[in-house]
């Protein structure tokens, strides 16, 4: 099977659609790509084992399993924190809803995704290294406009001259993919700063093996639990050369009230390394130490989950108590490696995103495996005019935001909102991009005792050390509200366990 036809191939079998739980299921016709069923209602082959199994379950069985899952997540405290500005300002801990029906990706389709993600991350690492440590060749050769780079929110002059071994500047990256109406995977955005969600990938899997063990035993699903050791290996690979054979790596967290604290603790536990806060670290003579019960211990690599601006109050925000005074001087002296590297935000700026396919061609001399979503640059007068003409058909996003905040979804917006965005775009065209609406693919999702189609995306995670590796699967996020295209957890999204099938196994072997 060749790569080119794999990602769009429907993998249809002749199985009729099962009745029961799926009796009223709407496959969406030609409006959406359905991950499980073809437009004629037939089950895609890689879902056959699962759908057969579900056919033997009643809605009560599903409820019971969902209850088991909820209990597992709740007693283990697998939560993220949402802030509503309430009295105590402690935030509310919520469990991240995980749907019982997993998303399944066949082996050949995964090969395609994996190649595309690795290619993209490799080019982005090259770009960042070129920008902060090299000659800025891509800028000099006008692949990306110089002014665009310098006006990006995530661009940090302070990062010039801070080395990262192997140029692995994006030690962990999350590349958000969506599937369009033809089933083609497209890149929606890159997350190169502190992408989160990997803990849910691992916890979802652990929960699914307990809730639906039988389905697992009938097909070969590629494991994900080597993530911890893999991340630790990469962290050690980027240690400063002087660190010796056993470098000390730590995870740096803002603390227990951070929304992703669960993940920070989870990763530290998976790797068996210390989870530190800024106040646990101290810099002396450009060397970083952590305060232990037996005195100070030298630290070589910091996997930080704190944003650039809070890392070092000497250089950035002086009011920040989260960071470590002097940390950047230690990094610049080559005594500690900070991962992900400082200043990565310049490359996941949503306007720079539009240039990533060109960067892939420039640095690697290859065509991009995964296409972007069609994107319009609003400082170009003709593109801007065209966008403003059909604003009610497009999506507009602020270039530096994340978490799905501050977006305009044209088809769902009222006149007032459209007018507001029109004014904003005209005032500061650099601050926004516009994209064609992608009719994200849908996946059956358990809603009130039956399955309904809900839009999904996919965030595969890549790890850069000496080389770039992609974890099989990733986080499938689900827009839980009917018709919604917003899948972010901070906006009430859910998730699905994501299975990559082993290429050597067949359906029911």
């Amino acid at each position: 099977m060749t790569q080119s036809r794999s990602h769009a191939s429907p993998h249809l079998s002749q199985q009729p659609r099962p009745m029961g739980l799926f009796a009223d299921y709407d496959v969406g016709g030609d409006r959406f790509f359905d991950e499980v069923f073809g437009t004629d209602g037939s089950t895609r082959e890689h879902y056959r084992v699962l759908v057969d199994r579900l056919r033997s379950l009643t809605p009560q069985d599903l409820d019971r399993r969902q209850a088991i899952r909820d209990r597992i997540f709740r007693t283990q405290g697998i939560t993220f924190t949402v802030y509503d500005g309430g009295e105590r300002d402690e935030g509310i801990e919520r469990t991240f809803p995980m749907d019982l029906l997993p998303r399944i990706i066949p082996a050949d389709e995964w090969t395609h995704i994996e190649a595309g993600v690795a290619q993209r991350v490799t080019a982005l690492n090259r770009f960042l290294e070129d920008l902060y440590m090299g000659e800025q060749a891509a800028v000099n050769d006008r692949v990306v406009p110089r002014w665009l780079v310098h006006t990006a929110d995530g661009f940090r002059r302070e990062a010039f001259g801070i080395p990262v071994p192997h140029a692995a500047r994006c030690l962990v990256s999350g590349v958000d993919l969506v599937r369009d109406v033809d089933g083609v995977y497209r890149v929606l955005e890159d997350n190169l700063r502190n992408p989160s969600g990997i803990s849910y990938v691992l916890e979802n899997r652990a929960a699914m093996t307990r809730v639906l063990p039988l389905v697992f035993s009938r097909q070969r699903v590629r494991p994900v639990d080597h993530y911890g050791p893999m991340l630790l290996r990469a962290l050690r690979e980027v240690a400063p050369p002087a660190a010796g054979e056993h470098p000390t790596a730590v995870v740096l967290t803002p603390g227990i009230y951070n929304s992703a604290y669960f993940e920070h603790a989870f990763l530290a536990r998976q790797m068996g390394i210390e989870l530190v806060e800024g106040r646990d670290l101290v810099v002396d003579e450009h060397v970083v130490y952590m305060r232990t019960t037996r005195g100070l211990e030298r630290v070589d690599v910091i996997y930080r989950r704190i944003d650039d601006d809070f890392l070092d109050p000497v250089v950035f925000r002086p009011d920040s108590a989260l960071g470590v005074p002097g940390l950047l001087s230690a990094a610049r002296a080559g005594n500690v490696t900070i991962a992900n590297a400082l200043g990565n935000g310049v490359a996941d700026d949503k306007a720079v995103y539009a240039f990533v396919p060109d960067l892939i061609r420039y640095y690697l001399g290859e065509d991009p495996v995964l296409p972007n979503v069609d994107t319009y640059l609003l400082w170009e007068a003709d593109q801007r005019a065209a966008v403003l003409d059909r604003l009610d058909e497009l999506v507009v996003k602020p270039v530096a935001a994340s978490g799905g905040y501050g977006m305009l979804i044209g088809p769902h917006a009222d006149d007032e909102e459209l007018a507001r965005f029109r004014t904003r775009i005209e005032a500061d065209p650099r601050a926004y991009i516009a994209q064609e609406v992608v009719s994200l693919s849908r996946h059956p999702t358990l809603v009130d005792h039956s399955f309904e189609g809900r839009h999904v995306d996919l965030r595969p995670f890549a790890i850069s050390g000496e080389s770039v590796e992609v974890i099989p699967g990733g986080l499938t996020r689900v827009a839980l509200r009917r018709g919604s295209l917003v899948v972010n957890s901070s906006q009430g999204g859910g998730s699905k366990d994501t299975w990559v099938l082993d290429g050597h196994a067949t359906g029911d072997g």
């Binding site: 709740r74 007693t75 283990q76 405290g77 603390g255 227990i256 603790a265 989870f266 530290a268 536990r269 210390e274 989870l275 530190v276 806060e277 106040r279 646990d280 101290v282 002396d284 130490y289 952590m290 305060r291 232990t292 019960t293 037996r294 005195g295 100070l296 211990e297």
Partner: protein
């Protein structure tokens, strides 16, 4: 290990123990009062608040059982309440999740969730005994899970150290509640027990019942019976709870267990914490209980608590406090 995490584990140990012991003390007070004359009730609750050092925090509220119970069990603004202790134990455990076993985290979190989902106010009115039993049992489960799932590393030792230091203090308080009551009944002039006691050993019948309750609340009643076989005697009970080297809740037992943890943590260095702990242990170990009564048991118990607090302070200085940068080369190479 990280100083901050060691401190969090130490306090997680303390808070779970505090929740459990507070439940024990409230339980014993509540149930002995059921059989006491109404006139004693307010005074007994006041004594309990005194012993717990919570009288000021309680303020001018009426000393009615429902009020005091709500204050000691539910009140989030009372940092010494059972609920507050459990919330803090959980917060400390949550911040050291990567260090403790997931079973331990789950058992702490379970207790927190369980209390959050119950109508505690109603249970305190209807069935306080059941509630206290649930809390005590959940705390014992937490220790059991910790003991069976945690490697004996420094983290474990700091948690165990926090627990036994807290318990030593709390056992002193448990004895003190009953003893003060005994003194009040007798009046200041009369020496009830001790080397020069005026009256024959052995308490009267009501008091008998109260000392049994004290022993039970320290899970020590059966052990006491086997050890002494005689009738209930305040001096014997105090001796047992303070000085019995083999009783897990006795003060001497807790202190020698603390000494064991501290010596391992100090790696044999003679530290201020070890010395402070040695002193308070010695002040108990070779004492005759009659002597303690002659000295004034209440003052003696107060002194022991103050010295245990000194030990905790020395532990914090030695292991948890953030060393200034100037002194760090000396520390790093020590």
């Amino acid at each position: 290990m990280l100083a901050r995490l060691a401190e969090n584990l130490f306090w997680a140990g303390r808070y779970v123990e505090r929740a459990e012991d507070t439940a024990r003390m409230v339980d014993v007070t509540y149930h002995t009062l059921l059989e006491s004359p109404a006139s004693e009730v307010g005074g007994s609750w006041a004594q309990l608040l005194d012993v717990l050092h919570l009288r000021t925090a309680y303020g001018q509220r009426p000393l009615a059982p429902a009020e005091v119970l709500a204050f000691l069990v539910l009140d989030r603004d009372n940092t010494g309440s059972i609920t507050s202790s459990i919330v803090r134990a959980r917060e400390n455990a949550r911040s050291v999740r990567e260090l403790i076993s997931s079973e331990l985290w789950e058992s702490v979190n379970d207790l927190h969730l369980d209390l959050g989902s119950r109508d505690l106010r109603r249970e305190l009115t209807d069935q306080p005994y059941e509630l206290f039993k649930t809390i005590r049992r959940a705390c014992l489960t937490i220790y059991g899970v910790a003991s069976e799932t945690m490697p004996r590393d420094d983290g474990w030792r700091f948690m165990a150290l926090g627990r036994v230091l807290e318990r030593a203090e709390m056992t002193c308080r448990l004895i003190d509640i009953r003893y003060q009551h005994l003194e009040d009944l007798a009046g200041p002039s009369r020496r009830l027990v001790g080397a020069n006691a005026e009256r024959p050993r052995g308490a009267d019948r009501t008091d008998f019942h109260h000392w049994i309750a004290v022993l039970k609340s320290a899970s020590a009643f059966e052990a006491y019976r086997r050890r002494y076989r005689s009738s209930m005697d305040p001096a014997d009970v105090v001796e047992f709870l303070l000085l019995e080297p083999d009783l897990p809740r006795s003060v001497v037992f807790c202190l020698s267990s603390a000494m064991h943890q501290l010596q391992v943590l100090s790696r044999g260095r003679p530290s201020r914490a070890v010395r402070a702990l040695g002193r308070v242990t010695a002040s108990l170990q070779y004492r005759d209980v009659g002597e303690l009564f002659d000295l004034g048991l209440h003052d003696f118990l107060d002194t022991v608590q103050a010295r245990v607090a000194d030990v905790a302070e020395a532990v914090a200085d030695e292991f948890f406090r953030h060393h200034p940068v100037g002194s760090m080369h000396a520390i790093a190479t020590a």
